[in-house]
Every structure is written in C-alpha cells, then in structure tokens.
C-alpha cells in the first residue's frame, strides 16, 4: 500500500519533469527512464545503468533468502579464474566471478549471487556490493534474454545514434530501461564502448543460453535499418555476425552519414596520402617583432 502510493507520488513528479523536458533535446529526453516494470524516480541518469537504485529492494526471486550457487561446470570456471590471481589477493577475482554469476543467472546479479561471490573470495559482502553497483555492466534487476545497449556518447551521437535508438525503440516498442513483455529484449543506453571509429554502434549481450551460449557482440557502422535487422535476426533465434556492417575493420572505406553508408570519396582525407591542409604554422619560426604603433 505504502509502496504503491509512493510510486504514484513519483509518477506525478515525473509528469512535471517530462513537461520540463519537452524543450530539451531528444537524447536528454530519451535518457529519462520511463519505467513500465519498475517504479521510476523520474531522474535522468548519467551512469546509464539499467538499474536506477543504489539500494537493494526485495523483489520476487531476489530476497535475502533466495538461494544461488554456481553449477558444477561453472565451479570449474571459478577455479580457473581463481588460479589467475595470487591466493592472498583472491579478491582480484571479484569482477570475473560476478560476470560469471551474471551469465549463469540469466543476465542479472541477485543479492544471493553477490553473497556467493563474497563467500568464495572471503570478502565482506558490502565490498562486493560496491563493485556490483559501481559497474554499469552488472545488472542488479532482471533483463531480457538479449540486452541491447545503444551507445549514446558524442562520436556515435554525431554519426546518428539517435536514429538508431528511435528505430530500435519503434521496432520493439520499448524505451530505455524497459524490457519487452515476451522477456526477449531489454533496451539500454550505454556510455562509450570504444568503437568510435566505426560509429554508430550497438552492443548486444546474449543471455539466452547460460554461460556456454553467452556472447557480447559489437555491431558497428549501423544504419537504422541495419540495427532493426540485427534485432529481428536475434528474435528469429539467429546469431548475427559481429563487427562492422560495411567494412572489414576500421579502414577508411567510408562512414555512415545521415543514416546511410557513404563510401569514401576522393575529397575525404585518408592516411595513405599527404593530407590536404590547412596546416599548422611553422612552430620554429620566430614571430615578427611587433611594430610600435604610430
């Protein structure tokens, strides 16, 4: 009862916020979390995490008494991971183990999973929570089988990531932070994923088949149509190839411009020939002495 009334209060607050945001740019608006499954606090979030709260809340399947343990196969993986670090610095394995637990647990970390990691590494639980809440790639609430992350950082935005978001959003009927009713897709915004040279790009994490089937693929040089096609192929159970849609790597073959692949033109500078200028002045040259004003 208390909870639902509090949600209502938040929604009222959010409406007023949305009104304020009418005048804002598309990206800012998109960054506002419009929750369907989760109560929204109506705040824009810089971290772009799928989760918006820094405090655990009891939910079905994620309470203090929910059991979690690694499978036998994954315990072998745990042992392999632990071998990488000196035994007196076991806590170095915190992030790899949390990642493993997330893969096993359909893409999100429950309280019990974090506790298990803390137990395995002899760490205080809070130290594991700190790590899990710090990194946005750890999800602390359930995600769909395919977690679609759209890069929204400056280079991708210049190359048209807003259009990518709009296309996927219209295709799936989802805003950032939402999960489709069939549980297949969760749409999130991510900060720079380091593939700026092939902007715009998205990353899709595949949690459909546990640790063995797990993949985390970058799809680069996307037009809105390409992005929708990739999502469609995932929906059909295919495993689309990762990487650029239009070039083998990052060679200067062209770029996505205005939602279309535009091959490199002669006027475009490449690294194989002398740059056309304008150039920097000769830094060794002494500036001419200033003429005294008459």
């Amino acid at each position: 009862m208390l909870r639902s009334s509090a949600w209502k209060l938040c929604r009222v607050g959010q409406k007023s916020l949305q009104r304020q945001l009418e005048a804002c740019s598309v990206t800012t608006r998109a960054a506002v979390f419009v929750g369907a499954d989760y109560p929204s606090t109506g705040r824009g979030f810089a971290a772009n995490s799928h989760d918006v709260f820094g405090q655990h809340r009891d939910e079905k399947g994620n309470t203090i008494s929910t059991p979690f343990d690694f499978t036998d196969a994954n315990y072998d993986a745990v042992a392999d991971i632990l071998l990488r670090y000196p035994s007196n610095y076991k806590q170095s394995a915190c992030i790899p183990l949390l990642d493993l637990a997330q893969q096993q647990n359909n893409g999100h970390l429950t309280l019990a999973a974090m506790r298990r990691v803390a137990m395995l590494l002899d760490m205080p639980e809070i130290r594991v929570y700190e790590v899990a809440t710090f990194y946005t790639m750890f999800n602390r609430s359930p995600v769909g089988r395919y977690h679609v992350m759209v890069c929204g950082t400056t280079p991708c935005q210049i190359q048209g990531s807003d259009g990518i978001y709009e296309a996927i959003s219209n295709h799936l009927g989802l805003h950032y932070g939402q999960t489709s009713p069939d549980g297949l897709f969760t749409l999130s915004e991510m900060e720079c994923m380091g593939a700026c040279v092939n902007a715009p790009m998205i990353a899709i994490a595949d949690y459909s088949n546990g640790v063995e089937g797990y993949s985390y693929k970058y799809f680069e040089d996307l037009t809105p149509a390409d992005a929708v096609e990739i999502v469609k192929r995932y929906k059909d159970g295919e495993k689309p190839e990762m990487g650029s849609r239009y070039r083998s790597k990052a060679e200067p073959a062209g770029a996505v411009m205005n939602g279309k692949w535009t091959p490199a033109q002669k006027t475009m500078p490449t690294l194989t020939e002398a740059p056309p200028g304008p150039f920097c002045r000769d830094l060794g040259e002494m500036p001419a002495p200033e003429q005294p004003k008459a």
Binding site: L2, A6, F45, A47, R57, D58, P124, T133
Partner: protein
C-alpha cells in the same frame, strides 16, 4: 572551526619565527607507539619546506597538509582525519606547490625537501571556491532544520572559503535515507561522500558494514541491504561526519548546539574512564561527546557511554522514601529518613552489618562509607560484581600495568577470559589498532567476534595448562619483545580464580611478560568504581568471613548484589540514583546524585585517577553520595571528620596518595612475583580449576548498570541487535520514507 582558525593563526606567527622543535608539532599518525611519539625526532629526520615563504621543519614522510599545520596555517578539509587513512576524495585541501602545474591535494601529497607551498594565492582561493561550489551543488539548503547546523564543517568552511554564489541552476539530487539502527540518524541527501564513516567502520570499529555504492552522481553511502551498524562504537560516525548526514537519532531535533552548556567530565559506563563532554541545557543532559585524550580514549566513545543519558531521566529517585509497616514506601523529608536509618541501626553490632558498593560509586562515597562502617565496627565491605577475597595489597595485581596507550607497543597479546569488545569497546579499538600494525593476538576463552582475527587457543583453564606445556603461541609470546597478557573481569569472580591466576603468573614468568622496562600484565575491569574500591581497600576484613548473618545492609548504589548477600530479615538502606533492583528491596531509600550531577573521583582500569564534574543540577531532593553518608554518620552519632569536598578528597589522598593526583597514572611496582609465591599456598588450598570455559563478565553490553537499564535507547539497541535488522519485523515498504515507516523504525 572559526575560533580554531583564529587560534592557529596566532600560533603560526610564533612558530614561523621560532622554528619550534618537533615535539610541539602535531602528532604524526604513523608514529604509533607511545614511546616513539613522545621523543623528539633527531634533526636528520626532518626536512625543511617553505609555507607561504616561511621555512618550517617537519619530520620526513609528512604530508603537505601536515607541513601547513606545522606552520600554523589552517587548510580546509572534509575527508582528511588524523585517525583514519587518507582518502583524498573531497579535494577541499588543494594548495599550490611551486613547479606543480595543478593545485595538489595537500592531505595526500608527501612533502619533499625545499618544497615551496603556497596557500594564499589566487589559484588556491579559486580552487577552494570551485570545490566548494561543487560540494554544494547537491547539498540541500536545510541548515535551519539540520541538527549539525552551527557546528557543521561544510557550513563554516563555505562561509570561510566558499564563493558567495553558485552557477548551478539544475535540480539537486535526493537520496534515500538509510536505516543504520536506533542510534545513528541519516539524512543522506546531505552527504558529501567524504567516506569518513566508511573508513571509521572499516578501520577503527572493524565492522565491514558501510560502503559507497553506485557511481558518479548516483553514488551513495550505505549498506546496500538494510543492515544494522553492528558496532559498539557506531556513535562516533556522528562526530566524524563533517555535515549533517549522520546525526544522533535519540537527540534528533531536541537542541541547537549553541544553546548547550559544555562540561568536561568522564564517562562511567565502563572502566575505561573515557574523557567526555556533557552538553546540557538547563537541567537536562542533551548529549554526550568524547573529548580527545590520546592516553585514554583517543577520540572515541562507546555507544553506551554516549547514548545512555536518557536513562538519567527515567526511574530516578528524587525524594527519600521509607518503607512503612504495610510494606509501602512513603516519601519523607531528609531528617525523617536519616532518623529511620539510625533506628534501623539500633542494637545491631558492628559485625552484623554489611556495606556493598555499586558499579558507579565514586571514590569519595566509598571512602566515606568505609570510614563510617569502620567506626561502627563493621569490616564487611564488598564491591558488587567484584571478588570479595581478592588480595588488593599489591596494586600491580589488579590494574592494566601496560596502560591503555602502552598496549600499542605490544607485539604479541594474549587475551584470557575476556571479550574486550563489550567490556571496554574503546580499548578493543586500541587492540585492533595494534593488530593492524602487525601484533599477533591469541584468545583463551569462548570465541567472540572481536573485530580482528586472533588465534583461538581454547576455551577454559585446560587451554592455559596446555599453553604452559608449550605451544606455538606460547613460543611467540616468549620470543616477543613486548608480550602482553590481558585478563578479563570474568576470571576474577570465578571460584577457581586463585588457581587460574597461579597458572597465569607461571605463564607470565616463563614468557617474560614482565621485563625491566615493560610490564605486560593487564587486568581489565568492567565497572567504573572497581579499581578505586580496590585502591581504597573496600574489601571484607579478615574477620568478616566468620561474621554472623548481617542484619543491616547498606547498599551504595548496588543493584547487582547476589541474593545471599542480603538475608531475608535484614534492614536494608539503599542509597542510589535509580529505582532499579536494589531500591524495592530496601527499607529506607536515600536519593543520590548521578555521575553527571556531582564531582566524583574515579580510577580507570589502568589506574588513572580522573574526576567527573557536575553538568546538571541534582534531581529533586537527591544529594551527593558522600554528603549523604556524612549526614548518616552525624545521625548515628559517629560523625566523619570532613565536611567539604576538599576535605573528603584530602582523606582520599591520605588513604591512597595517587587518588590525589588527577589525570595521572601512577605505575605500580611489580610485586606479583613475590606475591605469587605467597599465594601459591592459597592456590593449593583453593578449588581445583574447573573445566568450565571462561566467560565474559558482561552478558548484555547495552545494559550493565542502573542508568543503562533505565535507558529506552539502550533497550532499543538490544531489540534491534536481536532482529539484526534495523527495521521492525514488518517491513515498512520499499521507500521507507513516510511517517509510518519512520515511526516503526524509531520504535
């Protein structure tokens, strides 16, 4: 803070001119042992740096901030605290260092020889204003309703170092409040993320409960799950918090700090003698804070000492009461009540009397009662919860000879039958500190969570015997330069005490715990009155063993007497502060002043004499303890020869000279070796060591005496510890922000 600035500014001028020797420089946190920190370091250990053009000499390894402090220049700071590790995350202490392209965080920057530090340049001013502007971006403007208002570092430093305007026009963030239990109130929106509380909990208190969750502007201090801050020192995070994010929950909204009168006194909730400041308004104690005393409590105070003060307002005896023939108490005036005591004493021989002193009795009242009983011919004096037949002739036998500060110099510590975490929490933090520096710790006794790891050597006397036979830990003790043994109060009240002490002494001798310049033999006590009682010889005389059953019992604030001490038909006088256990049993109740209402002498477990001071007036008709006894002596016709506080304190100094030397520790001469041979006979006669395991003398940390038992806050602490959850059983919704949830959480 502002006054501190003024103080340091005046000091700076002197220091800059005179180049004072290092002994006057601020304490270096990395100089741990008591011995080294008191010695002036030789000159080659020093470097010279310039602060604002004036040369200043500082020890090698100092930080830029310490150099500025030494020069008397106040650097604003939030995250830096001398007792905690350096975090460097508030950026408020930025200063300019010549040849450095950017301002540097002075708390984390090591000072290098001939470094030219500038703190008064435009760059520094701008840097401080910028940092302050960012800190204030998300800080609410609720100073008028904030309990920290008026003593807030952020408030004062923004007045002093901040800009007069902000360029921030966006919305401030808000953060859900965390429930850390019944003692610490959180208003997390005010938090500036200095992480002092996290570092205190992790490093000093040794509980890994607090952390910084989230990232960037979404980061919050919290426990992630709703978790109680399970430390006996949790209240100290309130003092550490530089803003109003962590404040006192019991005292919330009850005072503004400028209304309070400060009285520097000491705490009596345990035997540590923590130096405190009692803040009062009118007749009420509003809060209790620790004072800095490196020798006793550093900067910390236990939760019981800090929060039990509401017990001073509950269940108080404020008028003399006399039990009528119908068994009901009737309020009387003092002369009538004293007359009733005299009547009760009539016709009773000296050897048919008994006096029992309580845990909170001051030395004045005990010496007065001892004098009175002796005059009446009675030698049957006991100190409650104590050990009637302990030989108090040798002082080294019942105090912490190493001293509280001295334990930091120990390299191996053996704890026997003690749980210092609840018997003396602040002392336990000191042991934890030595553990952090590499000291090895062993425990004989039940396994407790002491907040630091230790070698568990067994539970009972058999483990001691096994150690004597030779074990790894015993070898470590033998090889140690400064080994220490700490015995808990639980051992001294065991029937097989003599046998155990005999074993311990054998161990002490074999392991060389007592050396020429080192005495590692420590007894821990759990009651504030204990050491003074032993110093004064408030113990049964030799003849008291064979005395008949007492017909008259004088309880001096004693509530934890054992039933067999008071026969059914005895006439009982109860002189005390609270209607606790002793009062209903009494025939006459004489109301006395509590420790915040009187001047009283207490001796802590290292033998340090300290005095309380009256912070608030006495309640109702109550009087100082020793004055009541003086009045009784007059009525029974054996007047005591002192009428003033000075007089009784002079008498104290006559009986035990060190009781006249306030704030000093008189280190006892080590006589246990000789003494031990003498009492080997007694040990032989005494019971054989039981195989029963050792146990702590304290069952419940939060309730040990009349004051803490009357405290509702302490009751709440016990309740929340039982559930282990800061909220009550019914979880009040996920948001937990509404009034109902608060009410439930505050219950």
């Amino acid at each position: 803070m502002l006054s501190k600035l003024a103080r340091t500014a005046s000091r700076s001028r002197v220091q800059q001119n005179l180049l004072l020797p290092s002994i006057l420089l601020p304490q270096q946190p990395f100089q741990s042992s008591a011995v080294t920190s008191q010695q002036a370091a030789p000159a080659e250990d020093h470097i010279e740096v310039k602060v604002n053009g004036s040369p200043v000499q500082i020890p090698k390894g100092s930080t830029v901030m310490q150099a500025c402090d030494a020069a008397g220049i106040d650097i604003p700071r939030f995250c830096y605290h001398p007792k905690l590790s350096i975090a460097g995350n508030c950026r408020m202490c930025l200063v300019e260092v010549e040849k450095s392209p950017k301002p540097v965080a002075s708390c984390a920057m090591p000072a290098a020889p001939n470094m030219n530090i500038k703190t008064d340049t435009d760059l520094v001013k701008k840097a401080r204003e910028g940092v302050m502007e960012f800190l204030l971006i998300n800080h609410p403007l609720d100073c008028p309703i904030c309990d920290q208002g008026g003593e807030c570092d952020l408030q004062e430093q923004s007045m002093h170092f901040g800009s007069d305007r902000s360029r921030f026009t966006e919305m401030k963030r808000s953060v859900h409040d965390k429930n850390l239990g019944p003692l610490v109130k959180t208003v997390m929106t005010r938090c500036i993320h200095c992480t002092r509380c996290v570092r205190f909990a992790t490093e000093v208190a040794g509980v890994q409960d607090l952390g910084m969750v989230g990232r960037g502007k979404d980061s919050e201090i919290g426990t992630y799950i709703d978790k109680l801050l399970t430390s006996e020192l949790s209240g100290n995070v309130i003092d550490l918090c530089p803003v109003g994010a962590l404040t006192s929950k019991p005292a919330a909204f009850t005072y503004r700090n400028w209304e309070l009168k400060n009285t520097e006194t000491i705490d009596v909730s345990d035997a540590q003698g923590t130096n405190t400041r009692v803040d009062s308004r009118g007749v009420e104690v509003m809060r209790i804070l620790p004072r800095l005393n490196e020798d006793v409590n550093e900067e910390w105070l236990s939760d019981k000492g800090r929060f039990q003060y509401d017990g001073l307002k509950q269940q108080r005896l404020n008028v003399p009461l006399v039990k009528g023939p119908d068994g009901a108490f009737a309020p009387k005036r003092w002369p009538e009540a004293l007359e009733a005591v005299a009547q009760g004493l009539q016709g009773i021989a000296g050897n048919e009397m008994r006096a029992i002193a309580g845990k909170l009795s001051d030395a004045e009242s005990m010496v007065a009662l001892k004098d009175l009983m002796n005059k009446l011919g009675c030698g049957n004096l006991t100190s409650e919860g104590g050990f009637p037949d302990l030989d108090a002739d040798v002082r080294s036998n019942y105090v912490a000879n190493t001293t509280i500060r001295g334990i930091e110099g120990a390299d191996v510590i053996l704890l026997i039958g003690t749980n210092p975490r609840i018997e003396a929490p602040v002392y336990n933090a000191r042991i934890r500190k030595t553990w952090l520096e590499g000291t090895q710790i062993g425990l004989v006794g039940p396994e407790y969570d002491l907040t630091y790891p230790y070698t568990h050597l067994g539970e009972g006397p058999d483990a001691l015997a096994a150690m004597l036979g030779g074990s790894d830990f015993f070898q470590k003790l033998q090889e140690a330069q400064h080994p220490a043994v700490v015995l808990g109060p639980g051992i001294l009240s065991r029937p097989d005490r003599d046998t155990i002490l005999q074993q311990v002494h054998e161990l002490v001798e074999k392991a060389g715990v007592v050396k020429e310049d080192w005495n590692g033999y420590n007894i821990l006590h759990d009651a504030a009155s204990r050491v003074a009682a032993l110093d004064l010889g408030f113990l049964p005389s030799a003849r008291a063993q064979s005395a008949p059953k007492p017909k008259f019992v004088y309880l001096l604030g004693s509530d934890d007497y054992s039933e067999e001490d008071i026969p059914e038909d005895a006439f009982v006088v109860y002189q005390g502060t609270h209607g606790d256990r002793g009062a209903p049993r009494a025939n006459v109740i004489l109301p006395a002043a509590a420790y915040v209402e009187k001047e009283g002498t207490f001796v802590n477990f290292e033998g340090r004499t300290q005095r309380t001071k009256a912070a608030v007036p006495m309640v109702g008709d109550s009087r100082e303890d020793w004055r009541i006894i003086r009045a009784v002596s007059e009525v029974v016709g054996r007047p005591l020869p002192y009428d003033t506080t000075d007089g009784v304190q002079k008498r104290l100094a006559d009986v035990a000279p060190h009781l006249g030397k306030v704030d000093a520790v008189e280190s006892p001469i080590w006589l246990n070796g000789e003494y031990n041979k003498a009492f080997a006979e007694r040990a032989a006669k005494a019971a054989e060591a039981f195989q029963q395991p050792f146990s702590s003398s304290i069952k419940e940390f939060f309730m040990t005496d009349a004051i803490s038992r009357s405290s509702q806050v302490m009751a709440r602490c016990i309740q929340s510890r039982k559930t282990g959850h800061p909220k009550s059983a019914t979880h009040p919704g996920a948001f937990g922000q509404d009034a109902a949830a608060h009410a439930a959480a505050d219950m």
